[in-house]
Amino acid sequence: MEALNLKLEQYEGPLDLLLSLIQKHKIDIFDIPIAELTEQYLSYIAETESYNMELSSDFICMASELTYIKSKMLLPVVPEEDPRKELVDALLEYRKAKLAAEFLQNRADEFFDRFTKEPDETDGIYEKKHSVDLLTEAFKNLGKRINISPENRVELFEKLKKERHFTVEEKIFFTLRFLFDESRHEFSSLFNACRTIGEIVAVFLALLQLVRSGRVNVVREGTETYLILIKNLEDAG
């Protein structure tokens, strides 16, 4: 058989390779001598492998399919349908795609490199007119949703609006005032005046800042923890 000086990379896949073989050997696609084609295909695969080139699984898959068709053709019983039919259909479909690709290639040569321009910028103010019904409709739909999920009530947010908030800054002053006498204060006593979790968090954050900046010393004695204000910064540590 003629040497196959074909390179793998030039084929898009097994169908592409098969079509080339068919074309090269002037095989009638509607009456493929499957044994011959399989032999050629396999020897191509073998040759590629002998160069230690990696073969995609698609090529291997096709090899087994061809072998399967070949074996079916050898059966003494005539199968109801030509075992080659599926392969032939696939080859014909793929050939159509290749022809279409060729057409597109020609068009691309002529037209692909036409460039368009980005749209000019506008201020983008929306100026379409709508009926207000659209809004009420949307709101009505939302109304249903609010009723379905009562935990998402508006009050949840109202609380946030009404509740007093404490800043860490104000609590730093609070803590400094609290410890002003420089005597030992029990750790927990600092939080005695706190009414909410938010306030406790603010005081604690304030304390952390003061400790970090060396204004407050935390002393541990046995199971008790005390806080002491440091007036002379050099005493810190």
Binding site: K117, D120, T122, Y126, V132, L142, N152, F157, L160, H165
Partner: protein, 188 residues
């Protein structure tokens, strides 16, 4: 390239660039000297001056640019608006409904009501000029508050926010009285 080809190439380059291109850069692209390039630009500018052309070539700050002639601004604006404003989506309308009926509101309020992240929609409605930032809530993090704009009123034919139809919790919409509807229409 002969002068005609250079003119055409210059037009193509300026068109695709959209923004101004310097004389130097153009000369570099075409491998021409600056005088040649400037001459070509002058020819293109000259030809575009013809009343049948809607674009012109302008020279600003050492750079050339193609732009639409000012006299067509109205048509251009109309075209860009038509293009830029696909109708409001259902999600956008929902956000607008929440904002218009409850303003001023924060993003998290909108999200609580809608049950979904609404960040992108809020931003796009701001870009469209239908809602705007209008202060901060006196709460942790000082979240931004949003309210509707005059464009919003114009867009929905409302004289003021108080003209929004009342909606009661039975999900019944109290319709606008007839005369009010007329006023609203008058705004269109």
């Amino acid at each position: 390239m002969n002068p005609t080809q250079l003119d055409a190439a210059l037009e193509a380059v300026l068109f695709a660039s959209g923004s101004p291109v310097s004389l130097e850069k153009l000369s570099e692209i075409f491998c021409t000297d600056k005088t040649e390039t400037a001459d070509s630009a002058a020819r293109v500018a000259n030809r575009l001056e013809d009343g049948g052309h809607g674009i012109e070539l302008i020279f600003v700050d050492g750079s050339y640019q193609l732009c639409t002639k000012a006299c067509f601004a109205e048509h251009v604006k109309k075209a860009l608006e038509l293009r830029k404003t696909p109708p409001l989506t259902k999600a956008s309308l929902e956000v607008l409904a929440v904002v218009s009926y409850n303003q001023p509101v924060t993003k998290s309020f909108i999200e609580t009501i809608r049950g979904v992240d609404s960040d992108g929609i809020v931003n796009s409605l701001c870009d469209k000029g239908l809602i705007r930032e209008c202060g901060h809530l006196d709460a942790p993090g000082r979240p931004t508050l949003f309210g509707t704009t005059e464009s919003f009123l114009r867009c929905f034919g409302l004289e003021s926010i108080s003209r929004l139809p009342k909606i009661d919790l039975e999900e019944q919409i109290t319709l606008l009285p007839d005369d009010m509807e007329l006023t609203a229409k008058g705004q269109l």
